[in-house]
């Protein structure tokens, strides 16, 4: 019993459209809420070398392109009736978690581009930031497991 080609690629592509939108959405939330509204950290920190600036620019560009790409991928899946919502939601939470943890671990700690906030004890902020990322990762993993089980069990 061969499945039609379009539904066979549906779950994986639904997952990836969710991942793209999750990364783009969390990056946008970071920029809008923390950079611009709260102004806890800024898009430019004077002590940051030019190379980090370019990496920040690449991250920013990826965020914009990921949002647009994810939306068109989702539209394409909906059009061909290959969209699998549960895989999409799993991907979305995994994408949200991926950005949050990348920002919290690589940007804040490894590269030290910026911190969550300045002039306050940073440990609690870092813990809140990365635990939120872990929680999102857990939700995404659980959704993914449920989606895979449901798919193996058949519709």
């Amino acid at each position: 019993m061969a499945q039609p080609a379009l539904t066979r690629t549906g779950p994986g592509r639904s997952l990836w459209s969710g991942v793209l939108l999750g990364i783009g959405f969390m990056a946008a939330v970071d920029e809008i809420v923390f950079h611009q509204i709260l102004a806890w950290h800024h898009f430019y920190d004077r002590s940051t070398p030019a190379v980090s600036l370019l990496s920040d620019g690449l991250l920013h560009a990826s965020e914009l392109v990921a949002l647009v790409a994810g939306m068109f991928m989702m539209a394409d899946l909906l059009r061909s009736r290959a969209f699998v919502p549960l895989f999409f939601w799993a991907g979305l939470f995994l994408g949200l978690a991926a950005f949050q943890l990348f920002d919290g671990v690589v940007d804040h700690k490894v590269l030290q581009l910026h911190q969550v906030r300045y002039g306050v004890p940073i440990l609690l902020y870092d813990l809140a930031w990365n635990l939120a990322g872990l929680a999102l990762l857990l939700i995404g993993a659980l959704l993914w497991r449920r989606a895979s089980r449901r798919r193996r069990a058949g519709p």
Partner: protein, 294 residues
């Protein structure tokens, strides 16, 4: 009286301190009006060619003409003598001009398919020869997304990270050339990255997305460098003004790049839909037998 207005304004600007020699006297406004003249000529040509297509029964989508009108309007605002005068003194006005000529007007004009319209109106022999040139190695190299990216980002870096910007304020000819380059490079970049006009050989999707990423990143990075004060000295602009200009470049540039990204992926969506329709069409008879419900 109307002609006296910009002169009075420029006098005040000179007083404000970048010390450039603004040409004055009869005919001084002519160079400022030259872009408007060229724009009017282009609009008349486009309108005439589009009308010819419709009259000949071959049709020309109204949406494309509307995009052309919008693009021309944005350019007319960007090249207005008032904004040009203001841009010499206020770097925020310069940035608005840059965003209009280099990003937003090209987006609208690319959607107007001007090259396709031109080729459709030419005699077949000449159109074929032009197509041959477009697909020959030298022009193919020019219309590669990588070249367009280099011309675009390279030009901007030269303008902002060298004394070129200061020079431009003193030399009307340099100013004109820079404006033309910003517009031409912006239009080329938009057309080849979006892959809009089929008469230009369309680059691979992955390459266009990669160029889009790099271009967006470079634009955002340049804006941050300007914000940080890497701007060349000698322009006499107060730092607060420069930072506001950099923020304009950052946020409005983002919007333009995002619209370009929409064009890139919209093209992907349309072509994918056609491919799926073709696949369904050829597999139609088989599927009607094996899976009637779906």
């Amino acid at each position: 009286m109307a002609a006296g207005q910009p002169e009075a304004a420029s006098g005040a600007l000179m007083h404000a301190g970048h010390g450039m020699g603004t040409p004055s006297g009869p005919g001084a406004d002519l160079p400022l009006l030259l872009p408007w003249g060229l724009l009017l000529a282009a609009a008349m040509l486009y309108g005439g060619l589009a009308t010819r297509q419709v009259r000949a029964g071959r049709g020309w989508p109204a949406a494309r003409s509307i995009w052309f009108a919008l693009g021309s309007l944005l350019l007319a605002v960007a090249f207005s003598p008032a904004l040009t005068e203001l841009a010499h003194a206020d770097v925020r006005a310069h940035m608005a001009q840059h965003l209009l000529t280099g990003m937003f007007a090209p987006l609208a004009l690319a959607l107007a398919w001007p090259l396709t319209l031109l080729l459709r109106n030419l005699p077949v022999q000449l159109a074929r020869r032009l197509m041959g040139w477009l697909h020959a190695p030298p022009l193919r190299l020019l219309t590669s997304p990588v070249t367009a990216l280099l011309l675009n980002v390279g030009g901007l870096s030269l303008l902002y990270l060298t004394p070129l910007y200061a020079l431009m304020l003193h030399r009307p000819l340099v100013h004109g050339l820079v404006q033309f380059h910003v517009f031409a490079a912006g239009l080329l970049y938009t057309v080849v990255v979006a892959g809009i006009e089929p008469v230009v050989a369309r680059a691979p999707f992955a390459l266009r997305v990669a160029v889009l990423l790099l271009g967006t990143a470079a634009h955002a990075t340049l804006a941050k460098l300007l914000y940080a004060g890497w701007w060349p000295h000698g322009t006499g602009n107060p730092p607060g003004q420069l930072q506001q200009a950099a923020k304009l470049m950052y946020s409005w540039g983002d919007l333009a790049e995002m619209l370009l990204a929409v064009l890139v992926f919209w093209g992907w969506y349309v072509r994918r839909g056609r491919a799926q329709a073709r696949a369904r069409g050829s597999a139609g008879q088989n599927r009607a037998v094996t899976s009637p419900g779906r």
